[in-house]
């Protein structure tokens, strides 16, 4: 039996909490995220259709943010596996905008360089490159280019080529890029200013 002492250990954290990471994520999320309010109930992970493919459940990510585990969070595949179904968001008893927090974590991971290339981030970049140049998305070009960049992924899937041809023959999609919007110059200026404001 351990020796009893008079010394009392106060409850609560032994060292001062560093909540800077948590606050940073909150500030970088559009709207009021409520991310500081997590009570670790796990409803998010239990509601998530892609939780099985995640390195950490959303609940674990929120605990890691509170613990200041920046590198681990930035390298986690969790936000990249999010399908934006918003089940967690509407079920969260603390009304945390979980899906939007996942977007913020993706933004931060790209900016910090923790994620350089992945099928997920490359897909987003390829998609947006078309939008930034035409003002419209370009589904056929996107699918083609994305599958070329990640050929290993495309080759694993059966019937990829017939499916692409089916898009043209059945759905009557044009293989040509979309028509550029008239206000492309204005849109470019808007996006340039938005990027400056983002990094300010």
């Amino acid at each position: 039996m351990p020796e009893m002492t008079e010394e009392r250990v106060p409850a609560g954290p032994r060292q001062k909490e560093d909540l800077s990471l948590l606050h940073e994520v909150s500030a970088k999320t559009a709207g009021v995220s409520h991310v500081e309010m997590c009570i670790q109930c796990g409803t998010c992970g239990g509601s998530c259709p892609s939780a099985a493919a995640m390195d950490h459940t959303p609940r674990a990510i929120f605990a890691m943010l509170r613990a200041g585990m920046r590198e681990e969070v930035m390298k986690s595949n969790t936000p990249w596996m999010c399908v934006s179904c918003y089940y967690c968001t509407v079920r969260c008893p603390q009304e945390i905008h979980i899906t939007d927090v996942m977007y913020t974590l993706k933004n931060m991971a790209l900016k910090s360089g923790a994620v350089k290339h992945s099928t997920a981030s490359d897909f987003s970049r390829t998609f947006i490159n078309f939008v930034e140049n035409y003002g419209r998305s370009y589904e056929i070009g996107l699918a083609g280019l994305h599958n070329l960049i990640h050929l290993n992924l495309a080759l694993r899937l059966p019937n990829m080529a017939p499916m692409a041809i089916g898009m043209l023959t059945k759905k009557g999609m044009s293989p040509l890029p979309p028509k550029r919007i008239k206000g492309m110059d204005g849109l470019k200026k808007i996006l340039k200013r938005a990027k400056e404001l983002e990094s300010a």
Partner: protein, 331 residues
């Protein structure tokens, strides 16, 4: 006649032409006039939000600014695509909720000579307009060919009922609006528990293993309920369940043949319109057999090119640096 500002979205002019054509046909019957936003741009889907916050919202807000400028007697923007609908509502909602954020977005818009007054417009999905403005009584009055005997699964998907910033739908997980509409057309509506479960979203391009399982459970569940067709209201859901159904079948060695249609295509049929006018025949999984059950002859989709049989022995997986076979993963 009621007029609305219309934001079609990119899919409507490429992969979801059937949706566009049927929306136009149905709105004509219902005397709903859709005025397209002049020179609208892509909403960025979920992809721009994943990269950078301000540019993503500025991209969305440019459409709202153009719509506000063009608004003439109406302040309602109608989007038929769930992702577009959510993005437009999201930008409007957060610009109101977070004033400093709204100010920044307007500063970006100003670089292109535009401005949006947050809260000025009401962003709504076409389904909501049909149910709450047009009303089911008028819809019923226009039905000349009731869909009696057609067993339909109402599949709503995620981005319409969730997060539902403006509380427009009856429930975030089991909204009944689409059920009510299809019942008004005379169809036999199946009570579908997975009505708002995820279709896989962009996972078909990023993590197909995850996507295929999400697609499988929807198709398998509808098949088990003896559905003739699954009815959608979003181009992304339609594409994932229809165009990727064959790949999903290949992945799980199943052979489901579940046609996936847009709700407006069925409305058009019930209103007595020609299937060709409604984009039938552009689906991957033919709706012909299903529609023939109620005596409607739809065009057969163009024949799919046959997949080549792989020649020779399968290749071994690539070697990892340590000389061992790398475990196949998709990340």
């Amino acid at each position: 006649m009621s007029e609305y500002i219309f934001y079609p979205g990119c899919s409507m002019e490429s992969s979801a032409k059937a949706y566009y054509e049927s929306v136009m046909a149905v709105c004509k019957t219902l005397d709903v006039k859709l005025n397209e936003i002049d020179d609208w741009n892509c909403c960025g889907a979920t992809e721009y939000l994943s990269l950078e916050r301000m540019p993503a919202y500025a991209l969305i807000a440019r459409n709202l600014a153009l719509a506000e400028k063009q608004a003439n007697g109406t302040n309602t923007v109608v989007a038929p695509c769930s992702a577009c609908y959510l993005n437009l509502s999201k930008a409007d909602h957060y610009m109101q909720e977070d004033k400093a954020f709204g100010k920044n977005i307007n500063e970006a818009l100003a670089a292109g000579g535009l401005h949006y007054t947050a809260g000025k417009l009401a962003v709504r999905h076409l389904l909501d307009v049909v149910l709450n403005d047009v009303g089911l009584d008028l819809v019923k009055a226009k039905v000349v060919k009731p869909l009696a005997g057609l067993r339909v699964v109402p599949y709503v998907g995620c981005m319409l009922p969730r997060p539902d910033y403006s509380h427009r739908y009856s429930d975030t997980e089991h909204p009944t609006e689409m059920d009510d509409l299809l019942a008004a057309l005379g169809a036999e509506v199946i009570n579908f528990p997975l009505s708002t479960a995820c279709c896989g979203g962009h996972m078909t391009q990023i993590g197909p293993d995850t996507a295929f399982e999400l697609i499988r459970r929807l198709i398998a569940s509808a098949d088990e309920a003896k559905a003739d067709v699954i009815v959608t209201l979003c181009p992304m859901c339609q594409m994932n369940l229809d165009a990727f159904q064959g790949q999903m079948n290949g992945y799980f060695k199943t052979n489901y043949q579940m046609p996936i249609l847009f709700f407006t295509q069925l409305m058009g049929i019930a209103f007595g319109k020609e299937p060709k006018e409604l984009g039938f025949g552009s689906e991957f999984v033919s709706a012909r057999a299903a529609m023939s059950r109620i005596g409607v002859k739809t065009p057969e989709p163009a024949a799919a090119p046959k997949a080549k049989k792989p020649e020779g022995l399968p290749m071994p997986p690539p070697l990892a640096k340590n000389g061992k076979h790398a475990k196949e993963t998709v990340k």
